[in-house]
């Protein structure tokens, strides 16, 4: 019983970490600019398609495809941010919602046109297949890999935010944009960089997700809800919040289904509503 519980925890945590990589970028950019970017999941989809295409068409190894997914999403996000999204920072949340939903429609149509509606399969290298025995538990190697990647991303983000100049600027801008501007920071530039990083992470998350949840043109819509839950429960602009929120969501989802399969599917929504009712800013939100 204990070992089964541990496995459930492990699986849930791994799923949560996947959601973390997918959503942490949105949390930071929403905290920074109050920009409601519902197209975030579409960057994840792009990352997924880039990874699948590179591996299947060009035989690129998985480990090389992951950074490519990151950079492709980051690059596209810079272009879109410079040309389109920046016009919307002061446009009001409803227009942001409308515009970004519109762009998800466009992204889904383009993906359908280019890649078709078929489920994409990612050819996993053999060292990531199967499971290993750790402390008497059979753990899926790929899930261990996801957790490792997510922890590395967390470490880099925390280090970056705490120790670098850009990180300090981002934190200051999240706390109080007006003051940051007053101190002579170029908030728009900080945001552009953060936006690219966040979208890149979504792209990385998308590439990682293919093996677990599959990939088709509706990816951008399908995972939007999960991403939003992580962001809202964790609290805007907080890496820690997204981490805890994602872990909670993943573990809560899996544990709920394991112990109470009849109500498992709506348990997470119930938990989210309860948390947000008590803490409207999320677990780690500041404002």
């Amino acid at each position: 019983m204990i070992s089964q519980f541990a496995i459930v925890l492990f699986d849930g945590f791994a799923f949560g970490m996947l959601l973390f990589v997918l959503s942490v970028g949105l949390s930071v950019t929403m905290g920074l600019m109050n920009f409601i970017n519902l197209a975030h999941g579409a960057f994840g989809m792009l990352g997924g398609y880039v990874a699948v295409t590179l591996m299947r068409q060009m035989g690129m190894p998985f480990l090389a495809a992951l950074p490519c997914a990151f950079f492709a999403a980051a690059l596209l996000s810079i272009v879109l941010e410079r040309t389109l999204f920046r016009r919307l920072y002061r446009a009001g949340e409803l227009n942001q919602v409308l515009f970004t939903i519109g762009s998800v429609f466009v992204a889904a149509a383009v993906a359908t046109y280019v890649f078709g509606t078929v489920q994409q399969v990612i050819p996993m290298p053999s060292w990531l297949r199967g499971s290993v025995e750790v402390l008497g538990l059979r753990l899926n190697v790929y899930r261990i890999f996801i957790i490792a990647v997510a922890l590395a991303v967390t470490a880099l983000l925390v280090f970056g935010l705490e120790r670098t100049r850009l990180g300090a600027q981002v934190r200051a801008a999240v706390d109080n944009q007006r003051v940051a501007q007053g101190l002579g920071m170029d908030v728009e530039r900080i945001f552009a960089v953060t936006f690219a990083l966040g979208s890149g992470l979504a792209g990385l998350g998308g590439a990682l997700a293919v093996e677990i949840v599959g990939l088709d043109p509706s990816f951008g819509f399908h995972y939007l809800v999960y991403v939003l839950i992580v962001v809202a429960v964790g609290g805007l602009g907080s890496v820690t919040g997204s981490f805890v929120g994602a872990a909670l969501l993943g573990i809560g989802d899996v544990a709920g289904k394991y112990f109470m399969p009849e109500v498992g599917s709506f348990l997470i929504y119930l938990i989210m509503v309860a948390i947000l009712f008590v803490k409207p800013l999320g677990l780690f939100g500041k404002r």
Partner: protein, 329 residues
């Protein structure tokens, strides 16, 4: 100091704001045109009228009271199922009372939900409405003994309206019925908007912090409008059930919640007609584009949404009002 020529008459001014303009009368007259000029488009027209009523219900909370919601399909679906269930499970086939019943059920659920809704704002509000919507969807799926689950509710049978008008293949009765529902819902909403309560709602939307300072229990206002809006959304859902004799989980899903908000913003919020216009444009565009290319039509819908945001940030009605040089209200 006070110049009599410049000083407005407050009574006349306020009265004028609630008066029917010729445009409005022409608009409602135009809704009858499909009967004569587009008889083969009546099934679509009927569903546009239903979507328009749903959009009006969302406009009441979003456009007039500032409650952004991503979960209003919850009430649409509850109304749809309420109307379907009394027919298929209890044999109550009379449509008008079915409509009322659906409105009451949706309104009651809306009233209960309103206690949660009025206590949160911003992202938390968005996510709680979204969460409640998803919760209702999953609940309806789990209660398949009552709802029919993913297959949809079967065996819905609706008696002729007034015992005379049967729902026909051409959709004449369906459109007349939906249009009547929309018009009555619109009249009610219009009355609310031009009442003192409507003014109070605009006060909440404009500055929620000021409301307590003028002695307003604004949460009571919000609960009231949320309940009314839920009931209207429920009636819209019931209209869909009755005119199509179907009810499915799709009436409850996130897509419907998102679509209605999209229609409303597209048309313009806080104007009642914005919701109607948005619903018409969105659904006609979708029908026409999907007719040309059933696989990629949503590319153009997405393109349209982005274009509207960039060129007409206040929605199509807002854009028209600006073009016409009218004061933006």
């Amino acid at each position: 100091m006070t110049n009599a020529a410049l000083t407005p008459d407050p009574h006349a001014w306020l009265k004028a704001r609630g008066r029917w303009s010729p445009f409005e009368i022409a608009f409602w007259a135009a809704t009858l045109l499909p009967f004569f000029f587009f008889p083969s488009y009546l099934p679509l027209a009927s569903q546009i009228a239903i979507a328009a009523l749903f959009a009006i219900s969302v406009d009441l909370v979003l456009g007039y009271a500032g409650i952004v919601t991503l979960g209003h399909a919850m009430f649409f679906g509850i109304g749809a199922y309420a109307a379907g269930i009394i027919s298929s499970r209890y044999g109550w086939t009379e449509p008008l009372t079915g409509l009322l019943f659906a409105g009451l059920v949706a309104g009651a659920v809306g009233f209960i939900a309103s206690f949660l809704i009025v206590r949160v704002q911003h992202l938390a509000l968005l996510m709680i409405t979204l969460g409640l919507g998803l919760l209702t969807y999953e609940l309806a799926n789990a209660m398949s003994w009552l709802t029919g689950g993913t297959d949809g509710l079967m065996g819905i049978d609706i008696a002729p309206i007034f015992g005379v008008f049967n729902f026909d293949l051409w959709g004449r009765t369906a459109y007349a019925y939906s249009l009547a529902g929309l018009f009555v819902g619109f009249l009610l909403s219009r009355r609310i908007v031009h009442s003192s309560f409507g003014l109070a709602l605009r006060g909440v939307r404009e500055n929620v912090r000021r409301m307590p300072a003028i002695g307003s229990e604004h949460r009571v206002h919000l609960q009231k409008i949320y309940t009314i809006s839920a009931a209207l959304a429920g009636i819209a859902g019931a209209l869909l059930t009755q005119t199509t004799e179907t009810a499915s989980l799709q009436t409850l899903n996130f897509e419907r919640s998102a679509d209605v908000v999209v229609m409303l913003i597209l048309g313009g919020t806080g104007r009642l007609y914005g919701g109607i216009l948005g619903a018409a444009i969105f659904m006609i565009a979708r029908d026409q584009l999907a007719g040309i290319n059933p696989q990629y039509w949503y590319f153009w819908i997405g393109f349209l949404l982005m274009l509207v945001v960039l060129t007409m940030p206040k929605g199509i009605l807002g854009g028209l009002a600006r073009l016409a040089g009218r004061r933006d209200e």
